[in-house]
């Protein structure tokens, strides 16, 4: 076969993606290697994170220079990251599908551009502004209304029992993430629903299905591929989000959450909040440990994506095309 320049061109562009990722991961791995050696496997299971005394002379521990009392453990942040992302997706998926169906099929056609614009505006709001709104509105809402309501209805489950929470915590971080993930899933699914061919819709109507049933039972399965793809993208956004979560999560350190309103910290937000202080460590071990956190987050993202793909394969998704 003769060389196909167009195909080669797209291959080169596509190859930039793994290239970028490999560059970043290699950087993280090389940079954090001393920290990996110092922290060992316990890094993942310790709840104590201590930068140590940065103003005293460093000491030699296990052959490496570190500040006195320095100990790095990230179990708190792993739990925070997984919990917030899981809750955010749990809420975001049904809500996004509901909104997408509503705009695509339920709303009058002339309103569709406006309604979809409203949803896309959610993606436009900078993450810092979500944080500001979260502190000003969402946190008091949770403290005064939502948490007591949860306590009243579901209080028999220890996870939902709240005393008098401050509002900063797992729930507020998850809700903020939900708002940031919804537009990604909604916009993608809405786009896909619009592209469903008329004959396919008409076939469902011909069978006597009502409008809602056509949307849920016939069209959604047709765009299954887009839904799964969108959810994975939304998950990526949730795992990597920093600013908004930083401002409403309560910045927990050294303890694990036991209720839905307990303060938490996520890996991404923790890196942001610690980076400045870590730079004051003359041994450099603190920044390297932060790089190790990023590496662990990368590995977790890979694992979560693998699991998502296995679920996908279980749903028999192929090329969602019709002859």
């Amino acid at each position: 076969m003769h060389a196909k320049p167009f195909r080669i061109g797209t291959v080169c562009l596509a190859a930039l993606i793994p290239g970028m990722l490999i560059a970043v991961v290699l950087f993280l791995a090389l940079y954090s290697w001393p920290a990996i050696q110092f922290n060992g496997v316990g890094f993942l299971f310790r709840t104590t994170w201590n930068l140590g005394n940065l103003y005293a002379d460093p000491v030699m521990v296990r052959g490496m220079q570190v500040p006195i009392h320095a100990q790095y453990g990230i179990l708190v942040f792993i739990v925070g990251t997984l919990a917030t992302s899981a809750i955010a997706l749990l809420i975001a998926i049904p809500v996004s599908l509901g909104v997408a169906i509503f705009i695509a099929e339920g709303a009058p056609p002339h309103l569709r551009p406006t309604l979809s614009l409203i949803v896309e505006l959610l993606a436009v709001v900078p993450s810092v502004v979500y944080g500001l709104w979260g502190i000003a509105v969402l946190v008091p809402l949770i403290a005064h209304y939502i948490a007591p309501a949860l306590n009243a209805v579901l209080g028999f489950i220890p996870f939902f029992a709240g005393g008098s929470p401050t509002g900063f915590g797992l729930l507020s971080a998850s809700l903020v993430l939900t708002l940031m993930v919804v537009p990604i899933i909604t916009a993608t699914v809405y786009s896909a629903l619009l592209q469903v061919a008329r004959p396919d819709k008409e076939a469902a109507y011909a069978l006597g299905a009502m409008k809602f049933e056509v949307a849920v039972r016939a069209m959604l399965p047709m765009v299954r591929g887009s839904i799964v793809g969108a959810v994975i993208l939304g998950l990526g956004r949730a795992l990597g989000e920093t600013m908004a979560v930083l401002m409403v999560s309560g910045g927990a350190i050294n303890y694990l959450p036991h209720t839905i309103t307990t303060p938490i910290s996520t890996m991404a937000s923790f890196i942001v909040s610690q980076l400045d202080s870590a730079e004051q460590d003359p041994t450099g071990m603190a920044v390297r440990s932060l790089a190790e956190i990023a590496l662990v987050l990368f590995i977790i993202t890979v694992i979560v994506n693998v699991i998502a793909r296995m679920i996908t394969r279980g749903l028999h998704v192929g090329l969602a095309s019709r002859a």
Binding site: T48, W49, N50, L51, N53, L54, Y55, A56, D57, P58, H69, G131, I135, A136, V139, P140, A143, G163, P165, T166, G167, F168, G169, L246, M247, G250, G251, A252, I253, N254, Y255, P263, S265, V272, S273, Q274, L275, D276, S277, A278, E279, Q280, P282, T283
Partner: protein, 363 residues
Amino acid sequence: MQTRASETLLRRTFLLGTIGGTTLGLIALDPRQAAAANVTLLETGSSLLYPLFNLWVPKYTAMHPGLRITTQSTGSGTGIAQAVSGVAQIGASDAYMSFGQLKKSPGILNIPLAISAQTVNYNVPGLNDKNLKLSGPVLAGIYGGKITKWNDPEIVKINAGLTLPDHGITPIHRTDGSGDTFIFTQYLSFSTPAWGNGVGYGTTVSWPPVQGGIGAIGNPGMVQACGQTPHSIAYIGVSFHDQIAKAGLGTAPLQNRAGNFVLPTPATVGAAAGALEGKTPPDERISLIYAPGANSYPIINYEYAIVNSKQASPEIAAAVRDFLTWAVDPSGGNAPEFLDAVKFLPLTPKIADLSKRQIAKIG
């Protein structure tokens, strides 16, 4: 039909983009905006010093056309790191560099520019206007999880005459690395040996897990969290006095080294600064926390400019020298018109002199 339409689409987008870009370009290249600068300086670092720099820079650059100074609020650690690496010419920091940092990067100057202080504020319904006294060991107990209720005997002991509620305390700390945490934890460390040997001090510390304790971002975050959470306590920089008043938070008189409980006023802050003026070494690296003296306020500190004594060029060095000399001068940056807006205190004449001597070393 569709293909011609997408070509039209592309052409229209291209046209719109070109028009938009040209307009912006014309605005941006307007000579009034991009003044031809001889020297550009970058200041970055402490968020405590940031407001003051933002008051200084417009005034100073107006007097010196051809000089551009950009200010950034990134944090003391970043300020030090970027001053050392040369990315920034002036690093702002609430903490002086440690021995370890200086050993790694010799030739870096720590130059005090002003004196700032910190308040400990609380939100206890009914008691916000009655100065609830607190001491270092009590605060260490609260933030360490040992003192959990407002009517704990330790707090009652130093507040005879006040009825304290039987309610849990919510200690609020800073999540982001901050000079405020640095000076607060120094106060705890110097006044309470158990804290000093345990958690210690720093721009970030390993806060002991306390039931209900939360972290807030930035000083405004501290004000807001404290204001929204009854029975909470927070440490806030003195520049935010107006916000604290607006939120209706109480200010605690703190116990100083002499055992007296003092509120932060220019007199008490000045007393502390004066007490340690004589002990300040030529390299000006000294903590002003827990100063001796009957009337000294215990949480005050020098705000530092971290500057590399070797700058990239003689012009840049001269620009930095001139700016910093103006900044520490009582008729320049240390004048009330600047410092009052951020509630800082000016350097005492002796310290200003030491700073000027360090500034002269920049070359």
